[in-house]
C-alpha cells in the first residue's frame, strides 16, 4: 500500500519536474502534449474534410459506396507502424508522416457515419426543403447536413478517441507527442514514470476532446433542446432518446454498421 503511494507520488513529482523547461520550448511534457494535440486534431479535421464530400458523393451515387467502403476498410487493416514507415521516405520527419495515415484511418469511422447521417434525413424534410425552393446545394448545406449532425458527431467522437490513442504509435518513427514519453523517455530508458504519465495524459486528452464534441453537438443542434414549454419538454425527451441511441453508436463505433439493417 505504502509502496503504491510512493510509486504514485514519485510519478507526480517526475511529471511536475519535467512539465516544461523554460528557454527550451521543445522539451518537457507540455511540449509533447501540444504536439499530440496538433497531430491528432489536424488528422481528424483532414479526415472530416475528406469524409464529407466523399460521403455526399456516396449517397448521391449509391453504387459507389460499397467498393469505397471496402477500400477504406482494407486500408484500415494496414498496421499503422507499416504506414508510418512507408511515409518516411516521402515526408521525412515532418508532421505529415503521422497525419496522412491517421487521417486515412479516421475515414473508416467517419465515412459510414456521414453516409448514414445523410441517408436518415426524413423524406418529408427533404421534400419540404424542395417545396421551399431550395436547390440541391442549399438543401445539402442548410437542411441535410444539419439534420445529420448528431450522427456525424457520433462518428467524430469515436474517430477522435481512436486517433488520439493511435498517435502514440507514431513515436516509433520519432513523432507521436505523448507517445515519445512512452517510447523514448520511458521504454528505452527502462523508466516507468514517463510511460504512466504518457498513458494518463493520452486518456485525459481523449476524454476532454470527447466532452468538447458533445458540447459542440449541443451548440450545433439547438433545436434538439430549445425552449421551456410542454412541447419543448416533450421534444427534449425525444431528443434524449435519440441521444442515448447516438451514445450507443459512439461507444462501440460499430453500431453504425448495424443501423443499416433494421
Amino acid at each position: 500500500m505504502i509502496d503504491a503511494w510512493e510509486w504514485a507520488t514519485g510519478i507526480v513529482d517526475w511529471a511536475v519536474g519535467d512539465w516544461s523547461h523554460p528557454g527550451e520550448p521543445d522539451r518537457g511534457i507540455l511540449a509533447r502534449l501540444v504536439e499530440h494535440m496538433r497531430l491528432s486534431y489536424v488528422s481528424i479535421l483532414i479526415g472530416l474534410v475528406i469524409a464529407l464530400p466523399l460521403g455526399v458523393a456516396c449517397v448521391r451515387w449509391s453504387p459507389v459506396y460499397p467498393p469505397v467502403l471496402t477500400g477504406v476498410n482494407v486500408l484500415y487493416a494496414v498496421p499503422s507502424i507499416a504506414l508510418f514507415f512507408l511515409m518516411l521516405p516521402y515526408t521525412g520527419f515532418s508532421d505529415w508522416t503521422a497525419i496522412i495515415p491517421l487521417a486515412l484511418y479516421t475515414l473508416v469511422i467517419l465515412l459510414p457515419n456521414v453516409v448514414d447521417g445523410l441517408r436518415q434525413v426524413p423524406e418529408h424534410v427533404r421534400q419540404a426543403a424542395v417545396a421551399m425552393g431550395f436547390g440541391p446545394m442549399r438543401r445539402l448545406v442548410f437542411v441535410e447536413l444539419p439534420v445529420a449532425v448528431p450522427v456525424i458527431i457520433a462518428g467524430l467522437r469515436v474517430a477522435s478517441v481512436a486517433t488520439i490513442s493511435m498517435v502514440s504509435v507514431a513515436s516509433l518513427v520519432g513523432l507521436g507527442g505523448l507517445g515519445q514519453l512512452i517510447v523514448s523517455e520511458g521504454f528505452r530508458r527502462r523508466f516507468d514514470d514517463p510511460i504512466v504519465v504518457g498513458i494518463v495524459l493520452t486518456v485525459v486528452l481523449a476524454l476532454v476532446t470527447d466532452a468538447l464534441l458533445v458540447i459542440a453537438q449541443r451548440l450545433l443542434t439547438p433545436w434538439a433542446h430549445a425552449g421551456k414549454g410542454l412541447l419543448a419538454r416533450k421534444r427534449a425527451a425525444r431528443a434524449e432518446a435519440t441521444a442515448v441511441a447516438g451514445d450507443a453508436a459512439v461507444t462501440s463505433g460499430t453500431v453504425s454498421d448495424h443501423r443499416e439493417s433494421p
Binding site: L83, M166, L178, G179, F191, T202, A206, S261
Partner: protein, 226 residues
C-alpha cells in the same frame, strides 16, 4: 524497379518460406497471438456484456469503462507491462486484450439491451424464465451485433499484433520492424501485405460465422430490409 516486382521477388524467394524466420512460422506466431488475445477478450467481455445487458445492472459503468479503455494507447500498455513483468507473451497478450475487450463488451451489452421488449414479453408469456429468456431469445437476437464487435476487435488485434515485434517477440511485425531497421523495403512491404491479407481473411471468416451462427429468421429479416 517498381514496388510490385519487388514484392513478387520477395514472396517468390524460396528462403522466405522455410526456417524459423520463414513466412509460415511468422504467420503462425501472428495468428497464435491474435487468437489468444481475441479468445481471452471474448471470455472476459461476452459474459460481462450479457450480464449488464440482461439485467441492466452496471450498464452505464461498463460502457463508460469500455470507452475509457479505448483511449488507452496500446504501446503504452505494452511497454509498461514489459517493464513491470519482463519480455514475453504476457505483455503482448495483455495489450491485445485491452484493445479487444471494449468493442466486444459494448456490442454485447447493446445487442442484448436492444432486444425488442415485445419479444421479451412474448418469451415471458410463453413461460420462459430469466435465464431461458437470455439464452433462447436475447443471445440469438444479439448474435449479429456480438459478431460485429468481435470482427472489429479481431481486425484491430491482427493489425496491432505487429507491435509484438517491438518487444522482441515474433509475428509478422518482425518483417516490418526488421525491414525498417535494415532499410529493406521489400521485407517491410511484404510484412504489411501479409498483415493486410490476414485481416481480410479474418473479415471473411466472420462473414462465414455470421452465416453459420445467425438464426435463419433473423438473416431473412436483415436481407429483406437491406
Amino acid at each position: 524497379m517498381n514496388v510490385l516486382t519487388l514484392l513478387v521477388e520477395w514472396f517468390s524467394d524460396p528462403a522466405q518460406w522455410t526456417g524459423s524466420a520463414g513466412i509460415p512460422v511468422r504467420l503462425g506466431e501472428h495468428v497464435y497471438y491474435s487468437l489468444l488475445g481475441l479468445l481471452l477478450s471474448t471470455v472476459i467481455a461476452v459474459p460481462v456484456g450479457l450480464f449488464t445487458g440482461h439485467t441492466g445492472v452496471g450498464g452505464f459503468l461498463t460502457t463508460s469503462l469500455a470507452n475509457f479503455a479505448r483511449a488507452l494507447p496500446t504501446i503504452g500498455v505494452l511497454f509498461l507491462i514489459v517493464l513491470l513483468a519482463g519480455i514475453g507473451l504476457v505483455p503482448v497478450v495483455c495489450a491485445l486484450v485491452a484493445l479487444a475487450v471494449p468493442p466486444i463488451l459494448v456490442n454485447t451489452h447493446e445487442g442484448v439491451r436492444g432486444v425488442d421488449p415485445r419479444l421479451k414479453d412474448a418469451a415471458v408469456g410463453m413461460g420462459m424464465r430469466g435465464r431461458e429468456v437470455l439464452f433462447k431469445l436475447e443471445v440469438p437476437v444479439a448474435t449479429p451485433l456480438i459478431l460485429l464487435g468481435m470482427r472489429t476487435a479481431a481486425v484491430q488485434v491482427v493489425a496491432t499484433a505487429t507491435i509484438a515485434a517491438y518487444v522482441g517477440v515474433g509475428g509478422l511485425g518482425r518483417y516490418i520492424v526488421d525491414g525498417q531497421a535494415r532499410q529493406d523495403l521489400p521485407m517491410l512491404l511484404g510484412g504489411s501485405v501479409l498483415v493486410v491479407g490476414l485481416a481480410v481473411v479474418t473479415t471473411l471468416l466472420f462473414a462465414g460465422m455470421r452465416r453459420l451462427l445467425v438464426a435463419p429468421g433473423l438473416r431473412a429479416e436483415a436481407a429483406a430490409t437491406r
